[in-house]
Amino acid sequence: MNLMLTVAEWLGDPQQWSGPAGIPARFLEHLGYSGLALLIAAAIAVPIGLLTGHTGRGGFLTASAANVGRALPTIGVLMLVVLAVGIGLTPVMVALVVLAVPPILVNTHEGVRGVDPQLRDAAQGMGMRGHEVLLRLELPVAVPLILLGLRTAAIQVISTATIAAYVGIGGLGRFIVDGQARRQFEMVAGGSLLVVLLAVLVAVLFYLLRRLLVAPGLRRRTPVGR
């Protein structure tokens, strides 16, 4: 209980809430790195996934990328990239993007691939051309899976960005690293709680996005417990 009190005290200390090393600044830094990495990864993975899903080629490649990506230990990748390229924002971005691409890629690919062939036939029968089928049928139907991929990637990027503080960039991980170095547990725990908060916020954001972006006709397809 005592521990909880010191953590609450640390979180409530006005000193923590201002300046370039304060909680708001670190929170925004963390959000910035994660958001940027996710955007870059999405810009790479979504078009490729749409294309491979639409043409039906490269399924094996995306599945393999996902399997390897799933098995890779994040901290190893991060530290290897940093050793190779040096400390700074770029290597961290590279590592974060490398880790975020596979889930987005695979889910986009499978989302487009999984469109009911009858729907595709119907779209073609209505006179839609290839790109129209992709943009007006396959993309909307794939949105739930694409969002799932983005959410998985986002949560992973947020955790990895925490670790990135070990290789010298800012963000909420700094509280954990600095707190460890100074043996101030309240700082470590406070930083951890903030990371948890950010992850939960992002999960809620994706829940809202799902409500917003998924076509009404598709929404009822999520039975609970089947």
Binding site: F60, A71, L80, A84, I158, T222, P223, G225
Partner: protein, 253 residues
């Protein structure tokens, strides 16, 4: 790293047993325990969720919220209570496996065809015997599919535990490699971790073939294209992420 080669084989040769071997064993222990514990907890939880349907939504939401929490944060938050024991890693990792395993147990049990259930009943099976001898074996492929995802995720996540100082291959990466600016242990750590994940995954596939010989095997030899590959992973995704989520439950950092 400059003039240094990426992999120095002489270092690997002279450090094969310690630290490489010891760290690998630690890694194995830190990952197998949560997987087994998770299965042990997920089976009764899943059975209960199928038996009392109202239980499933709250259980499902809870494990999913816990799953969203970055592992490094959970490790540090547990540290004052469990100190530097293996439990600091085992408890959060077990919780993460539940997010994959519970939905799969529930889905697996729900997929048992009604006529199979009725046949068992007609043969005089009581509820418990029916569960153990009929329903669970029929659900096994889906449960193992979940176990595969959980195992691979856990094995890669254990590396993060080294930041808290709990050992495993992450410790090799961090203390031998990164702190000394020496890439070889990092490469060794990554390769061994991925190899371990694939090995356990392969063993689970074999186990499933051996335990459930009646399930059709995926056609190999070039024919194992996207649909069958996707189907096996899709079975491992959670119910809320339907339709078919091949990459839903990924491990995190």
């Amino acid at each position: 790293m400059g003039d240094q080669p990426l992999v120095r084989w002489d270092w690997i040769a002279s450090h094969l047993v310690d630290p490489i071997g010891t760290r690998l064993l630690e890694h194995l222990q830190l990952s197998i325990t949560p997987i087994l514990l998770g299965l042990l907890l997920a089976l009764p939880l899943g059975v209960a969720c199928v038996r009392w349907r109202a239980l499933y939504p709250p259980v499902f939401t809870t494990v999913n919220i816990l799953y969203a929490i970055p592992s490094i944060a959970l490790f540090f938050l547990l540290l004052p209570y469990t100190s530097f024991s293996a439990w600091t890693a085992i408890i959060p990792l077990t919780v993460y496996t539940l997010a994959v395993l519970v939905p799969n147990v529930v889905d697996g049990l729900n997929q048992v065809p009604d006529h199979v259930r009725q046949a068992a009943e007609a043969m005089g099976f009581g509820p418990l015997r029916r569960l153990v001898q009929v329903e669970l074996p029929v659900a096994l492929p889906v449960v193992i599919a979940g176990l595969r995802v959980a195992a691979v995720a856990t094995i890669s996540m254990v590396s993060v535990a080294s930041l808290v100082g709990l050992g495993g291959l992450g410790q090799l990466i961090l203390t031998e490699g990164f702190r000394r600016q020496f890439p070889t242990p990092i490469v060794v750590g990554i390769v061994l971790s991925v190899a371990l994940a694939f090995l356990v995954d392969g063993l689970l596939v074999l186990l499933q073939r051996w335990w459930t010989p009646w399930t059709p095997r995926p056609a190999r030899a070039g024919g194992r294209n996207r649909r069958s590959a996707a189907a096996s992973t899709a079975a491992a995704s959670s119910a809320a992420d339907r339709p078919a989520a091949p990459e839903g439950r990924r491990r995190r950092a």
